[in-house]
């Protein structure tokens, strides 16, 4: 073992490097959060959208779908579903309502959630809002998501 590879120095690099890069991460986070209003579509973040997000969460939509590429990969991307469905919240609502209760034989199918008309509107508005987020390079690459 080389004498001049000391544990003390290795330890200092671990703590020093860790703290240093953590501080850099915090700094970048501050910058990011301050800059977000330009891209995060928060001007359209209404009560209705917030309620839609809650519905999105308590029905665990992320367990099959992806939203901006994150989630499960079992069902289509929904970050751009508003665009894909011809910028129509009615089309989104219609799709959610149309799901058969017992599924489609042999195929994947979204469950029937029995949403009320208000809830449907909230979900649709939420998806519209997500579509309005200005994502770098306009991800996903095309409307298929």
């Amino acid at each position: 073992m080389r004498e001049t590879f000391t544990k003390g120095m290795a330890r200092n690099i671990y703590y020093g490097g860790g703290v240093f890069f953590f501080l850099v991460l915090i700094g970048l986070t501050v910058d990011t959060v301050r800059g977000l209003p330009k891209t995060d579509n928060s001007q359209n973040l209404t009560e209705e959208v917030a309620a839609g997000k809650r519905l999105w969460e308590i029905n665990n939509c992320i367990g099959c779908h992806t939203l901006l590429g994150e989630g499960a990969y079992f069902a289509p991307e929904l970050g751009n579903v508003y665009t894909r469905f011809g910028e129509s919240t009615d089309a989104i609502k219609g799709f959610i309502m149309s799901r058969p209760k017992d599924g489609i034989p042999g195929r994947r199918s979204m469950p029937q959630f029995n949403f009320t008309p208000d809830e449907l509107e909230e979900i649709a508005q939420f998806l519209k809002y997500v579509d309005g987020i200005k994502v770098a390079r306009d991800w996903p690459p095309n409307k298929e998501g």
Partner: protein, 194 residues
């Protein structure tokens, strides 16, 4: 880690091997960043040339001299402890080097103040993104380097190093030279080359 090579060649690298892992990692990061910069520059040459003109080359040049001088002080510090075992002298050279780093930070802060008050940020455009992230990342390394040198200087002043035991000084010096080296590449790349 019983690298037999190093065992037989204690003079392969000055300082602690551990710091060289760190330096290697840092250089890798800066290296990839510089290559990315060069590639993007080629793709957006006009835009880069245009905004490059807004940078303060004089301050950058002065800062280059400041850092090289500071590096020289560090070399003196290593020389002093290694050949004369003079830990007080060593610590004085280190304080001089830290002062050099301080001058660099002050000058750089003027430059940043200028840019920030003009409303420039990381998201302004690709050139400023690179300019700011590269120089600020380097800026933080200068601060880190100064902290390292300070710790070593204080230890040296208390007689923590001697002619036979000066690895800590060499390690800090190696790190400081890396910070200097990165600037010497960064300055022409971002400020001058067109």
């Amino acid at each position: 880690m019983n690298t037999a090579i190093i065992e037989q060649e204690p003079k392969l690298l000055p300082g602690d091997l551990a710091i060289w892992f760190f330096i290697f990692m840092e250089l890798l990061v800066f290296g990839i960043a510089f290559i990315s910069y060069a590639v993007v520059r080629v793709q957006n040459e006009d835009m880069f040339n245009q905004f490059q003109l807004t940078l303060n080359t004089e301050l950058g040049a002065i800062n280059t001299i400041v850092l090289i001088t500071s590096s020289y002080f560090v070399v003196r510090a290593v020389h002093t402890i290694k050949n004369h075992g003079d830990y007080i002298g060593c610590s004085h050279w280190l304080y001089a080097a830290i002062a050099g780093g301080g001058v660099f930070l002050v000058l750089k802060s003027f430059e940043y103040y200028d840019k920030f008050s003009a409303g420039i940020s990381l998201s302004t455009n690709t050139f400023y993104m690179f300019y700011l992230s590269l120089t600020m990342f380097h800026f933080l390394h200068v601060i880190l380097g100064m902290i390292i040198l300070l710790a070593i200087a204080i230890k040296a002043q208390r007689g923590g190093y001697s002619a036979s035991n000066h690895i800590g000084v060499e390690s800090g010096a190696s790190y400081w030279h890396m910070v200097d080296l990165v600037w010497i590449i960064l300055f022409p790349l971002v400020y001058v080359m067109r």
